[in-house]
Amino acid sequence: MMADSGSNEEVAVIGNTDITSTETESNIINTMVERGTALLRKMEINKHGQLKLFQVGGAPAAPDTLWRRYSEFELLRTFLLVTYPYIIIPPLPEKRAEFQWHKLAADNLDPDFVERRRVGLENFLLRVASHPVLSNDKLYFLFLTEEKGWREAVLETGFQDKVDSRLKSLSAMFRVKNPDKRFTAMKQYSDELNTVISQLLRVRARVADRLYGVYKVHGNYGRVFSEWSAIEKEMGDGLQSAGHHMDTYAAQIDDILEEEEHYADQLKEYLFYTDAVRSVCKKHELIQYELEMAAQELISKKQQREELATGTVRVFSLKGMTSKLFGTESQEQRESRLAALEQSIQEGEETLKEKNTECKEFVQMAWQDIERFKEQKDKDLREALISYAIMQISTCKKGIQVWSNAKDCFNKM
C-alpha cells in the first residue's frame, strides 16, 4: 500500500496563488520526476471556509507550493477510509485509462490523460475540503502543508492496524443476521448504479468511436472536392469552398469528443463513488456482526453460569462433560469457576454495551453522510446532464452552420 509504484508517477503541485505561465515553467524545470513529467495545479480555497489553509496564524508558515505523488494521494485516501469508516470517502481518478473511445492503447503518459488525472486529483482534494467531517482532519491539513514530514505522520497514526481483514468482512457479509434494512437497500442501489454507469460508459466509448469515423470521413470530401474543382470551370468555386466546409466539419469532432470526455470523467467519479458507498455498507455489516457475536457470546456465558449455579446441564461444555465423566469437582473449584465466569460476563456486558454504542453511532453518522451524499449526487448528476445537453445543443448548432454553408456553396455551382 505504501510502496511507491515506480516510474509511472506524476507529481502534483498545490499552490494557493494563481500561477503564471512563467512560474509554471520554472516549477516544471525545478522538479524533475523520472519521466520528466510534472503536474501543475492550483488549489482553490474550499467552499465552506473551514480550512483556513493559507491564513497566517498560529500555524507555522506554510510554503506556497509543494509536490505530491499519486501514491501519496492513495495513502491519504486509505488513511481516511480506515479512520472514517462511516464516511463515503471521495474517490481518486483512475490509475489506468479505461473506457477509452479510440483504439490507441491507453497510454498513462498521454498528456491529455495526465491532464484529466490532474483534474481528478484536484477534484478529490476539493471534495475532501468541502466535507463537513473530513475537512477537519489533521492529516489532510498536513498533506497540503507538510511536504517532507507527512508520510511519517501518517504511518505514525498506526492506521494500518485498524484495517479490517478481508476475511473478516466477507464472513460478516454472509453471517450477519439482522443488518439494517436501509443499508442493505443502499448497497443494492449502489451496485445497480455501478452497473448502469459502467454500461453507459462502455456504450459511450463505442458511440464516440463511430461518430469520430463519420465526421472524419467527411473530411475526405474536402480533399476530393478540391481536386475536382481543379478540372471544372463553372462548378469550380462552389466545389472548392464546399470542400473547405467539409474540412471544418471533420475537425469539429475533436473538440466535441474532448468535451465529452469531461462528462465521462464526471460519470466515472460516481462509478468509483459506488465502491466507497459499498465500503461503508460493508463496514456496517461487520460492526453489526460483531455486535451480534458479542450478544451471542454473552448469552452463552450466562447460560453457562446458570448451569453451573443450578447444576443442570443445558448447554454442552467440555468442563461439564469431563466433570461428569471424571467425577464432580469440589465446591472450591466450582466457586472459583463461577467467579471467573461472572468476571467474564461483566466484561462481556461491557463489550456488548460498547459494541451497541459503536453500532448506533456508526449507523447515525453513516446515515447522515449517506443523506448528504445522495443530495450531492443528485445535484451533480443533474448539473452534468444539463451541461451535456447544452454541449449537444452546441454540437447541433455547429452542424447546422457548417451544412448551411455547404448548401450555399453548392448553390453557387
Binding site: 458511440v207 468511436d209 463519420v214 443533474r382 445537453a389 447541433c396 448548401k407
Partner: protein
C-alpha cells in the same frame, strides 16, 4: 413539365435554334433584328410556350412485378405515358416493359444517333454481395434509374422525337419491333467491325474533342472518388446508428443513411456510367472521321482515274457527315455538361439540406430535454423553500 417550364432566358433561344436546325418540319429562320419572330421578343416567347404545351410528355416507371416462366424469372415495370404530342395516336398509354426492352431502346437510339450522348442504363448485374437478384432494394434502385433514363430521353431535344421511343412507350408487344432492328444492328455491327479493322486511327482530332476526352477521364476518376467517400460515410453512419440503439437515446437517426444512398449515390453512379458512354461516343466520332480520312487518302492516291466523280461525291458526303457529327456532338456535349452540373448540384444540395434538417431535429430534441430538466430543477428548488 420540368423541361417546358425552363423556357426563360438562354434556354429559350437555344431550344428554338435547335428546332430549326434539326426538325424535319420546315420552319422559317428568325430575323436577327427585334420583331415578333425574333427569339427574345415576347410574342415569340408566347409561340414557344404554346408549342411547348403541345409537346408535353410525361412518363412514369412504377409497379414492378415479378414474372415466372419455365425458363426464367424476370421483372417487368409499368410504363405510363401521358402526352399531348401530335406524333402519338392517343393521349395516354400503359405498357409493361422489362430491362431487356430498355436495353433495346437505348441501343436503337445509339445506333440512329451515334454521336449523341444517350443516358446510360443501370448496370445489368450488381456484383457486390448480391444473393438474390431481385431483392426489394435492388428493384427499387433499378426502377429509379430506369425512370431517370426515360426522363433524360424525354428531355433530350433530339431523342425525344425518336420513333423508337414512340414504339417503346406505346406498343403492347415489343417483340416484332425488336426483331426488325436486330437485323439493323447486326449490319451496323458489321460495318463497325470492318471500319475498325481498316483504321489506322484518326489523323488529327480537333482539339476540342481531345480536351473532351481528357476531361471525361478526369471527371470519371473524381466522381469515382466522391462515390467511394459517400459509400464509406454510409457505412460509418450505419454503424454509428447501430451503436446508438444501445443507448435508447432520445433520437433516431436513420434518415441520414437512407438519404445519401437514395439521392447522391445513384446520381454519382449514373455519371460514372456516363463516362463510358462518352468514351464510346467519342470513339464513334473518331471512327467517322477516320473513315472519311481514309477514303480521301485513297482517292488522292488514285489520282486521275475513272469513277472519280462518284468517289468525289462519296468523299464529299463523308466530309459533310464528319462536320455534322462534330457539331452535333459539340451541341450535345454542352447540353450534357449543363445537365450534369444541374444534376450534381441538386443532389449535393439535397444532401446538405438533409443534414441541416437532421441537426435541426436533434437540436429540437435536446432543447426540449434541457427545458424539462431545468423545470424539474426549479420545481425542486421551490419545494426546498419553506
Amino acid at each position: 413539365m420540368s423541361f417546358s417550364l425552363e423556357v426563360l432566358g438562354s434556354r429559350l433561344t437555344w431550344t428554338w435554334r435547335r428546332r430549326t436546325t434539326w426538325r424535319s418540319t420546315a420552319r422559317t429562320p428568325p430575323s436577327q433584328t427585334g420583331g415578333p419572330s425574333s427569339p427574345s421578343s415576347p410574342s415569340s416567347m408566347m409561340n414557344q410556350y404554346r408549342e411547348e404545351e403541345e409537346e408535353e410528355l410525361f412518363i412514369t416507371v412504377d409497379h414492378p412485378e415479378s414474372h415466372v416462366t419455365a425458363i426464367e424469372t424476370f421483372i417487368t415495370y409499368r410504363v405510363v405515358t401521358k402526352t399531348s404530342r401530335s406524333d402519338f395516336d392517343c393521349s395516354e398509354f400503359e405498357v409493361r416493359r422489362r430491362y431487356q426492352d430498355f436495353l433495346w431502346l437505348r441501343s436503337t437510339l445509339e445506333e440512329r444517333h451515334p454521336t449523341l450522348i444517350v443516358h446510360p442504363l443501370p448496370e445489368k448485374f450488381v456484383m457486390k454481395g448480391m444473393v438474390e437478384r431481385f431483392n426489394d432494394d435492388f428493384i427499387e434502385t433499378r426502377r429509379r434509374a430506369l425512370q431517370r433514363f426515360l426522363d433524360k430521353i424525354r428531355d433530350h431535344p433530339l431523342l425525344r422525337g425518336s420513333p423508337s421511343l414512340n414504339v417503346f412507350l406505346t406498343a403492347q408487344d415489343l417483340a416484332p419491333h425488336r426483331k426488325q432492328t436486330l437485323s439493323l444492328l447486326s449490319r451496323w455491327g458489321g460495318t463497325v467491325k470492318m471500319l475498325s479493322q481498316s483504321l489506322r486511327g484518326v489523323r488529327s482530332r480537333p482539339e476540342e474533342f481531345s480536351l473532351m476526352q481528357d476531361y471525361v477521364e478526369q471527371l470519371s476518376s473524381k466522381i469515382c472518388s466522391v462515390d467511394k467517400v459517400s459509400q464509406r460515410i454510409v457505412r460509418e453512419q450505419r454503424e454509428y446508428v447501430e451503436e446508438l440503439q444501445q443507448y435508447s437515446a432520445p433520437y433516431k437517426t436513420q434518415s441520414c443513411t437512407r438519404h445519401l444512398s437514395s439521392t447522391l449515390i445513384p446520381v454519382l453512379h449514373d455519371y460514372l456510367l456516363c463516362a463510358d458512354t462518352l468514351k464510346a461516343v467519342m470513339k464513334r466520332r473518331d471512327n467517322i472521321q477516320a473513315e472519311y480520312e481514309s477514303k480521301r487518302e485513297a482517292m488522292e492516291r488514285r489520282g486521275d482515274q475513272e469513277g472519280e466523280e462518284e468517289e468525289e461525291e462519296e468523299v464529299q458526303a463523308l466530309q459533310e457527315k464528319v462536320e455534322v457529327c462534330n457539331s452535333s456532338l459539340q451541341e450535345d456535349w454542352s447540353r450534357w455538361r449543363s445537365s450534369m452540373r444541374t444534376d450534381l448540384k441538386t443532389a449535393l444540395l439535397s444532401t446538405a439540406e438533409n443534414n441541416v434538417q437532421h441537426y435541426e431535429k436533434c437540436l429540437a430534441v435536446w432543447e426540449t430535454f434541457l427545458l424539462s430538466q431545468r423545470e424539474e430543477g426549479s420545481e425542486q428548488k421551490e419545494e426546498d423553500v419553506p
